[in-house]
């Protein structure tokens, strides 16, 4: 039976949801192994071994792996896949997208990025052109490297597995890069990629103050995550990790509320698989209305406070 190695993404000792979607994709390919790389990650490895379907966890525990540096982690993944596995499966997060192609090149494999489905052992579907087309792709490489779109696969149960844990040694610091620092936004709100409801604001908000004055209370009322268009992020109304779209986050919540967002194809690419889309825009011909289930035409500065008030 084929073996698929899942690159486990974790932060602060917790496994990220995107990993669980990758496990589901991997389980459609064969037996699921997991790689936990990091520093002081014993507890993460134990948690990974409990994910339903995971039969073995390889742990690479070393200071060199502490900040997910691709230069140090990719050789570990490549070595394990080379000896033991047929697939590397990574979540299509910024961490997965940084590391997986480096592994693919070390293995001389052409990666299949951002898969939406597993059609067979060597065949997958994936979006191209900002999701305006879906390609079915067949790989002829003996080993395969895949990244997985989180919204396209259900999350594997975090409990129920009883995999073995095996330490991996070797590798270490490639001496090419080091971690300097991070500005990670701490938020009480749900993370965008797993939020049930998202409220997103666009350029029409006009300033950071107005963005927070109007969008935040509505999001709080709905228990929603907050997103933004590229225009809103570029203008500094919202931080970069809010960006939804082709080149930002891909989300598919049950409810997506787009406020003052025109609906450019690059934005739609990140949210058009949401279950219900609500749009508020003063231009009745805005392209966002072509994908919205419920549209309200009018001035957001009047409508949004009213909506927050009445909810």
């Amino acid at each position: 039976m084929s073996v698929a190695l899942v690159l486990v993404e974790h932060e602060g000792g917790a496994i990220k949801d995107a990993t669980l979607s990758a496990v589901t994709a991997a389980s459609q390919l064969g037996e699921v192994h997991a790689l936990v790389a990091g520093q002081g990650v014993g507890a993460v490895a134990d948690a990974a071994a409990k994910i339903a379907g995971v039969t073995k966890v390889h742990v690479a525990d070393d200071a060199a792996y502490g900040h997910n540096l691709a230069e140090n982690v990719a050789p570990v993944a490549a070595a394990i896949v080379k000896d033991h596995c047929d697939y590397l499966v990574a979540p299509a997060t910024t961490t997965g997208k940084n590391i997986a192609p480096r592994v693919a090149a070390l293995l001389d494999v052409m990666q299949v990025s951002d898969i939406l489905s597993v059609e067979g052992p060597d065949t997958f579907t994936r979006p191209i052109y900002a999701g305006n087309a879906i390609a079915t792709v067949k790989s002829s490489d003996a080993k395969k490297v895949l990244t997985v779109r989180g919204t396209a696969f259900a999350k594997a149960p975090a409990e129920g597995g009883s995999g073995s844990v095996e330490a991996w040694s070797g590798g270490g610091d490639a001496g090419l890069s080091s971690f300097v620092g991070a500005e990670i936004a701490a938020s009480e709100r749900p993370e965008l990629t797993s939020a049930k409801i998202i409220v997103s604001g666009g350029r029409a908000l006009g300033s950071s103050e107005e963005f927070h004055r109007l969008i935040d209370p509505l999001a709080d009322r709905l228990g929603a995550g907050v997103g933004a268009s590229r225009a809103a992020v570029d203008a500094g109304y919202a931080p970069n990790d809010y960006q939804v779209g082709q080149t930002g986050k891909i989300v598919a919540p049950e409810l997506y509320v787009a406020i003052g967002i025109s609906g450019a194809i690059q934005h739609l690419a990140g949210m058009k698989d949401s279950k219900t889309i609500v749009a508020i825009n003063k231009d009745e011909d805005a392209p966002i209305f072509q994908v919205a289930d419920i549209g309200l035409v009018g001035d957001l500065f009047k409508l949004v406070p009213e909506l927050t008030e009445k909810l």
Binding site: A70, E71, A74, T94, T95, K97, N98, P101, R102, V103, A105, L106, D108, M110, S113, P127, I128, Y129, A130, N132, A133, I134, A135, T136, V137, S139, S140, D141, G175, L176, S177, G181, A182, E183, I184, A185, T193, R230, P239, N240, D241, Q246, T247, K249, E254, L255, Q266, K272, T276, I277, V278, F289, Q290, V291, A292, D293, I294, G295, K310, L311
Partner: protein, 249 residues
């Protein structure tokens, strides 16, 4: 320090892609093509580093059909010093592009290679990372800030949780994100000047790279369409409709 900037010719980002009826791909006949927007950002960053005195020469590279020369001329008009065109009419996958770029990097010995983080046609987001692996160099992907400091470069990266900064020893790979800079437009005099800048014509064979694809695209379809929605006339109606979906009580 020399900077190598690979650029790709793609469907212009303002054009809505149309899937061909026979399922073989997206229709590129008679549509506007442009430089991949992330590559424009890469060219711009290289020029800014040169203007600051951190770089001495900028070499633009494109792997693609004859028309890719137009894209290289755009890079030259923006401010690149010379160009290398690796001509092929075949679809070249990121892995093979990375192999060609590695061969060029071996010849040119740049201090930095700055690439777009992804091309907006196949959205692969692979070439820079693959090139870094093949060269065994450090990689600063999805960059929103690049600071060259002697023999190292600090790259601030846009990551899912916010921003992260890594320090790479040079030579190194940088891939650009949207907020790294705003690319300049080429001025008419510079477009004229670009016509006489050197452009070397090469083929994948010159670099001994086999570009045979590893992936076969067996079918391309349009994504499922969303059925048309409704417009409501008031906030009260909106709340009632949202409640009907059951997401909120």
């Amino acid at each position: 320090m020399k900077i190598l900037v690979p650029v790709k010719r793609v469907l212009d980002y303002n054009v809505k892609p149309r899937v061909k009826a026979d399922g073989t791909g997206v229709d590129l006949a008679n549509v506007k093509m442009s430089m991949n927007p992330f590559d424009e950002i890469a060219v711009e960053e290289a020029i800014r580093l040169k203007e600051k005195g951190a770089a001495t020469e900028i070499v633009a590279v494109s792997v693609g059909p004859a028309k890719a020369q137009e894209t290289l001329r755009t890079a030259l008009a923006m401010g690149a010093d010379r160009a290398i065109h690796v001509q092929t009419d075949d679809e070249v996958e990121p892995l093979a592009v990375a192999k060609i770029l590695k061969a060029i990097a071996d010849e040119e010995t740049p201090g930095l290679v700055i690439l777009g983080k992804q091309a907006i046609d196949d959205d692969s987001n692979q070439t820079g990372q693959m090139l870094a692996a093949l060269l065994n160099w450090g990689q600063g992907t999805f960059a929103s800030k690049v600071e060259v400091d002697g023999s190292s470069v600090n790259v601030t990266r846009e990551v899912d949780g916010g921003l992260e900064t890594v320090k790479l020893s040079t030579p190194a790979i940088v891939t650009t994100d949207l907020r790294l800079n705003e690319p300049r437009y080429a001025t008419l005099p510079n477009i004229m000047k670009a016509k006489s800048k050197p452009l070397a014509a090469k083929t994948p064979g010159d670099y001994g790279v086999d570009t045979a694809p590893r992936l076969t695209i067996t079918n391309v379809v349009e994504p499922a369409k969303r059925s048309a929605g409704i417009k409501v006339g008031s906030v009260d109606e909106l709340i009632a409709k949202i409640k009907e979906t059951g997401v909120i009580a």
